[in-house]
Symmetry: C2
Subunit: 461 residues, 2 copies
């Protein structure tokens, strides 16, 4: 009996030793963020791209967890707020700190800078990259390299009295260099030392830097960045520091609804004006998705990912790469189902690039997650109560998408009747390739993603 | 080198042998279904019950997967339908077969009976139980023991020309015994041989059975069932076959909104009638949750679970127990946030009972899942666009719940303006205790749940 126990102990010790030495082989981390990519958005895209029973590449990742998205009030930083924006949720992931809506790498209420994973990586000689289909200065990428009190302060001209969206003004005067701050987000990007930065947002770099005659883009060149403004230029650059800016602001999406249609209101026939139980509800006509003609002379997210991986890999050190598919969210705000589906396809294709890279670099941890939930919901195209003689009115906007298989998928947007929809407060998925096995439990809070990345990057022999 | 390889091979063989012998120790399965319990519903309940950073017992289960809910058209059984009802999704889980909305254990279009897990269990001498807060004849429990073309056929009087809900009639004449069928759902339950059946739905048993003067409940007693109609009677029964029916139909829920308030429409001030950009949106007053005074002399779901476990455990054979928290869905249809939260608490408490049981019976596999998504969404109480000077109208119904921590959580219901909300087509979570480790990948289709249960129950030494 004792002999068996001894053997078992030896075996267990061996297993433990092997597993410890495996986890000590740290390597690269690729963090892929789908902005607003909750399970509704993934289900919509899956139904369209591979059918209801199909699997996307992200569905096939071997590890899955669920993420509690946390936000606090700026006025009362101990009070929870139940819905996030991309700025505070990206700060959670980049810095492990829960903050308030709109903040980029700063604390709620007290406006203190919090250290982010890219700053830590650079201290350890680890190279970094940031890739997005948004402006490279937009909230999600910005939280990985910058610190401002507002996501609106994307360039030197947007610091004081800046109109962030119609009739809403932000004030980043505390972040002005003349006030001892670090300047606008585009200026901070140039000083961040990030090795590869690819996305949209050229307009934020073609303005004079604060207290300097030179445009921000000129400062980037002085700092050693090679510039790429189109796919050809992107293709030609093989190593070194790279700044690619392929559109003035957000990059155009690959798909759109027929004739750029968005979700639309249903209409009621006139008897419905008298009483809800009368008349008929007239729903929007179904539509197909089509190529977006504005997507020309632009690299795809997968092409940007391939380039970032090839440049970051050219050095012998490990790297951290953040990749964002931004317009799942932006198109959902504007109720454009086909736009969101196309952007989720871009994310899935970029993931394929990452998986392909990890096949030859098996120490690469791939994480796929979302920053927050969004408005869209798949609803029955023929109501569950269609047998009822009463009309079924949908109070918000509805799009009826004809899938490639020829069936109609109805998507409801009804969090506001405003020009833009709200985010929602649902948990979001976290998926990982097999290198993520055992690194985290089946449910985590969003700031824990920072710890997962940090522990993996810095746990060296 | 060869020696090391040999050692490694021996160790690996040992590990494989150990893992095979572990997986061969099959045992009990407890399948807990939250009706309509998607991640929005869980997030709503979590925020209320344990706070935004807290964890429910279901969050702490060690294994997590994601489930594709599948439905097909009854007319074209190869065509996908993107949103399920509880009948077809429960048929997926009970029988591993994708069918059309409203069907109980029968095939889409062709109306053929499909074998369910309880029938298979009985063939193997495995005891079974069905526990629910709905009528025991409602769609989810029914799919585990019955076969009808419509979920509406719950009792002998609801077979032909039966009004299932206002002005909607179902026809189960093909299921009449006189037509060679198996009769109504309550009649099929009596003949099913299920050992423990607890829930609501007494009214479906106090009617004469088809072709027989006796009420269905009398037939139950003739078949050897002990009856329990209140918690005291439930408490007194210690072993044998048990039928507990604690309310005429769905059991009242434990919680409700203040004065039974549901979500309400927002209102606009009169300038809003002229143009959307004018006036102000007036949102419903916040509310607290309170005890539902109708919940009296009733067992909780956890108490029913404890009784079912104690009776099923009294025999030496393994068992299969399905537990449903039904009114997460039913309360969400009627936009009653507090009702859904209370029912999710009931599920979580029942899970605690199951976990407690599994501690002394470690061969027990616990699965927790949902049947389909639902309408409710957590939206910002103060809009993301609140800084805008324009009013933000929410087109559907909104409830603003004051959490025990004193903060307001806003919940949006806007899939219809009808008396009841729709389901949604999102994937749903699947969680399992540690016995579920390695049994399924990070994403499965809903019919695969049937295979997981079957393989675990029947894989014996």
């Amino acid at each position: 009996m004792k002999k068996i126990r001894l053997k078992v102990t030896i075996i267990l010790s061996l297993i433990i030793t092997v597993s410890i030495s495996v986890s000590a082989f740290a390597g690269n981390v690729i963090l892929i963020i789908g902005d607003g990519m909750d399970d509704q958005q993934i289900s919509i895209a899956r139904n369209y791209l591979v059918g209801a029973t199909g699997k996307l590449s992200l569905d096939n990742l071997s590890v899955r967890s669920n993420v509690q998205v946390l936000t606090v009030s700026d006025r009362f930083p101990k009070h929870p707020v139940y819905v996030a924006d991309s700025a505070n949720s990206a700060t959670s992931m980049a810095s492990g700190v829960v903050t308030s809506q709109g903040r980029i790498g700063t604390t709620a209420g007290t406006d203190e800078d919090v250290v982010n994973i890219i700053e830590l990586a650079h201290q350890q000689g680890i190279r970094t990259g940031v890739v997005t289909t948004a402006s490279i200065t937009d909230a999600t990428p910005a939280a990985f390299y910058a610190h401002t009190n507002s996501r609106g302060c994307q360039n030197p001209a947007m610091m004081v009295n800046a109109e962030f969206y119609p009739r809403v003004f932000v004030d980043c005067s505390a972040d002005l260099k003349s006030n001892g701050g670090k300047g606008s987000i585009s200026e901070q990007l140039i000083n961040s030392g990030v090795d590869v930065m690819l996305g949209g947002g050229l307009k934020h770099f073609t303005l004079p830097s604060e207290g300097d005659g030179d445009e921000v883009i000129a400062l980037a060149e002085q700092a050693g960045y090679q510039l790429a403004l189109n796919p050809k230029q992107l293709d030609s650059i093989k190593k070194g520091k790279l700044l690619g800016l392929f559109s003035p602001s957000t990059m155009p999406v690959i798909w759109r609804g027929e004739s750029d249609r968005a979700a639309e209101h249903s209409e009621m026939t006139w008897p419905g004006m008298i009483h809800w139980s009368l008349g008929e509800a007239i729903v929007p006509e179904p539509m197909r998705c089509e190529q977006n003609p504005q997507f020309t002379d632009l690299p795809t997210l997968a092409q940007m990912t391939d380039k970032a991986l090839s440049i970051l890999d050219s050095d012998k050190s490990d790297f951290f790469l953040m990749i964002e598919s931004a317009s799942i969210d932006k198109q959902a705000h504007y109720r454009k189902t086909c736009g969101s589906i196309g952007e989720l396809k871009q994310l899935n294709d970029a993931l394929d690039s990452a998986i392909n890279y990890a096949q030859s670099h098996p120490d690469t941890l791939i994480l796929v997650t979302a920053d927050h939930g969004h408005a869209a919901q798949i609803v029955p195209d023929s109501s569950l109560f269609a047998a009822s003689p009463y009309p079924i009115y949908r109070p918000g906007h509805l799009s009826r998408i004809i899938t490639p298989q020829g069936h109609i998928m109805a998507v409801n947007y009804a969090t506001t009747d405003f020009i833009t929809e709200e985010h929602t407060g649902v948990t979001v998925p976290l998926m990982a390739n097999k290198m993520g096995q055992g690194l985290f439990p089946s449910m985590i809070t969003q700031p824990h993603i920072f710890n997962i990345v940090k522990d993996y990057l810095f746990q060296k022999d």
